[in-house]
């Protein structure tokens, strides 16, 4: 195992796939000469040259669409967005074209494309730079949505995403790029899309969390362990396809569940998982399922308000205490 930063794990995955397949290329704002706005693509220009590492203008709609067309016509683009908050401008290409072209033409073409970049908030960046889009894209048929929490997941899943023959959204976090973690040094390390992982075993309560929220859940679990509450953390890793079986299995053991979701409350991952749990594990539940999400409010700038807005370990502990009737 090698200890890598999140950004290095992502870079390694791209590097390996670019070395493996000439058709893979990277395009996005500042990915080439600047070496990546967050240094994720550092060194790739030197290694692969200007043909395969391409700086784009700030034209999310345009370059996302060029990516979709290139994917249709035989290439495997990795389209980097500086953040998924900017990808809203490209939503027509992701939602109306990448996810639909194959179906509406009766299967005549493929769109093997990866859209990747940081998702959700990253500190005090104001309302337009702080939204989690994973649940929104998961709404649309045809798209896979991955939001890993640790470098090892990121590497294995990004390699799968690049090899996938359909459109995949791969979400990262500005705040996690520097985070280190053990990454498998297995040659050609692949994690199948759609498989969750038990990140921490425990018998008392199941906490479902992915991406940045996994780390909040972990903090809460460490704190709760001191009080003798053992949390089982399930990281679905991919929002869609969703490994609901793994979550349900865990609940059959713990009989309680808290979902931590970085989206706003309406119709997010938490709502969907909550619904499925009540249907699939109704008889196993000893308490109503709880969720911790953003409030239905835009991201504020001011530090105290921002801290109030973002889910934290304390909210997770409160929710766990509620479902275990310790409040």
């Amino acid at each position: 195992m090698a200890e890598l930063q999140f950004r290095e794990a992502i870079r390694d995955a791209m590097d390996e796939e670019m070395a493996r397949d000439e058709k893979v290329f990277l395009m996005g704002e500042e990915v080439a000469e600047y070496n990546g706005a967050y240094k994720v693509s550092e060194g790739l220009l030197d290694k692969y040259g200007f043909k395969r590492v391409i700086d784009t203008p700030i034209s999310e709609l345009g370059f996302a669409g060029i990516g979709v067309g290139a994917a249709m016509n035989g290439l495997r683009p990795i389209v980097e967005f500086m953040t998924f908050n900017f990808a809203v401008l490209a939503a027509d290409q992701i939602i109306n074209h990448a996810s639909k072209a194959r179906y509406m033409l009766g299967g005549q073409l493929n769109t093997p494309i990866v859209f990747r970049g940081p998702n959700a908030s990253a500190g005090q960046l104001g309302a337009t730079h702080s939204v989690a889009y994973d649940s929104m894209y998961a709404q649309f048929p045809g798209l896979s949505v991955i939001y890993p929490s640790e470098p090892d997941d990121a590497k294995g899943l990004l390699k799968s995403a690049i090899r996938n023959d359909d459109a995949v959204l791969f979400m990262e976090s500005e705040q996690m790029y520097g985070m280190k973690g053990e990454v498998s040094d297995e040659e050609d390390y692949i994690i199948p899309i759609g498989k969750g992982k038990i990140k921490r075993e425990g018998d008392d309560v199941t906490v479902v969390a992915t991406g940045k929220m996994y780390h909040i859940a972990k903090q809460a679990a460490n704190q709760l362990a001191k009080d003798g509450v053992e949390v089982e953390i399930i990281d679905p890793r991919t929002i869609k396809p969703l490994d609901i079986e793994l979550i349900v299995e865990s609940i059959k053991k713990t009989n309680r569940c808290v979902i931590v979701d970085e989206s706003h409350p309406f119709g997010g991952l938490a709502s969907e998982v909550g619904f499925l749990i009540q249907r699939e594990a109704f008889d196993y539940l000893d308490a109503p399922v709880r969720r911790v999400t953003l409030p239905d409010v835009n991201a504020p700038f001011s530090k105290p308000l921002f801290d109030l807005w973002l889910p934290d370990a304390k909210q997770v502990i409160d929710a766990v205490n509620t479902v275990t009737y310790r409040n």
Partner: protein
């Protein structure tokens, strides 16, 4: 009642209702057609007869489709290409067979020119499993990817960057193919076009961006939805541009061939405005109150299909009898296509979940 102010603020230029009292104000001015003969352009007699056949097929296919639609044989949208057939026909003859074409939702003519048979096309309109897109797309999503027709797309302007992407992939793979991306004058106002033009010029993408200016963005005349001359937009991007007559297949052929040859040579994009005219409404539900009958009649005088027929007769390339024979044959072909469509099966229930994924399928919460 509020008193009408003398100088009320006005935004969009006023259309026909307050206009010139029936006087024809043409939505597009047609540049002169080429004065070259087909032989001057390197086309054989067979080529031009073929062009006539193809234009006549597109025309009759759509006229019959319209009848079937009005009879309630199928639903959905039906955007007719009638009046614009010289554009598809001249272009496809000008391009190589493996050059890529992509267009918007007014796509029947393009499909018919690129290997979608009348049967497969009609069946697609009917939503049958035998349609070119297996009944999954309907009128707006004809395609024949095998023959490099990447389809019709339904979001105005949405397929323009995709056309750029097709060209990007061709340049990347160094296969010397040219891409032609077609869209209507309405799409000129979309940001997607401008982002794509900028990147295409910057990245030297081998693509021709073609506005089929048919005078109307749905029901809004060109002068009411966009400023200045459309083809002049190219200047802002330092892009080569052209404007020419789209009611004459030979003119379209001549220009598109020159442009495609040049793109193949220097891999620089073009922005082209082809002026044409849409005889029918935007779609079938369009009462066409935004234009006069007189305007429509003026354009019908320069009808591309009639024009080619006259050309064949005047130049003694075909006799009246030959033309009639062709017309009868195509009439039969279209009627057979209707029979085929009617007799074909709808897709089975299992087809609902087919064609979503090339890779491992996943359907959330599938029952």
């Amino acid at each position: 009642m509020a008193k009408k102010k003398e100088k009320e603020a006005i935004f969009t230029p006023i259309g026909i209702e307050n206009g010139k009292n029936g006087q024809v104000e043409k939505s597009v001015d047609l540049p002169d057609p080429t004065d070259k003969s087909h032989k001057d352009l390197g086309l054989s007699d067979d080529d031009v007869i073929n062009m006539f056949e193809q234009m006549f097929l597109q025309r009759r296919f759509e006229e019959r489709a319209m009848q079937m639609y009005q009879k309630g044989k199928f639903g959905g949208f039906l955007h007719l290409y009638i009046g614009q057939e010289a554009v598809s026909t001249g272009t496809v003859h000008a391009l190589n067979d493996d050059d890529d074409i992509i267009t918007a939702y007014r796509d029947h003519g393009w499909g018919l020119m690129r290997g979608v048979s009348a049967k497969e096309g009609m069946a697609e309109l009917y939503g049958k499993a035998t349609g070119c897109s297996k009944g999954k797309g309907g009128s707006m999503h004809f395609a024949n990817v095998e023959q490099h027709f990447w389809g019709g797309y339904g979001i105005v302007g949405g397929h323009i960057p995709i056309g750029g992407g097709l060209a990007f992939a061709n340049k990347y793979q160094e296969n010397n193919r040219v891409t032609a991306t077609f869209f209507g004058d309405g799409a000129v106002d979309q940001g997607a076009l401008h982002e794509t033009l900028n990147m295409s010029q910057l990245w030297k993408l081998p693509c021709i961006y073609v506005v089929e200016n048919n005078g109307y963005s749905m029901g809004t005349a060109a002068r009411r939805h966009t400023v200045n001359e459309i083809h002049e937009r190219a200047k802002g991007y330092g892009m080569k541009s052209a404007v020419f007559n789209g009611m004459d297949a030979l003119t379209v052929y001549e220009n598109m061939k020159e442009i495609a040859d040049e793109v193949r040579k220097d891999s620089m994009p073009w922005f082209v405005e082809i002026r044409t005219y849409r005889y029918r409404g935007h779609s079938m539900s369009d009462p066409q109150k935004y234009r006069t009958k007189e305007e429509l009649e003026q354009y019908q005088k320069v009808d591309p299909v009639e024009r080619m027929k006259t050309y064949l007769l005047d130049n003694k390339i075909a006799k009246k009898k030959d033309i009639e024979k062709i017309q009868e044959r195509i009439e039969d072909e279209v009627l057979e296509a209707i029979d085929f469509a009617e007799e074909s099966d709808f897709p089975g229930d299992e087809a609902l979940y087919e064609d979503m994924f090339a890779d491992t399928p996943h359907f959330h919460d599938r029952k």
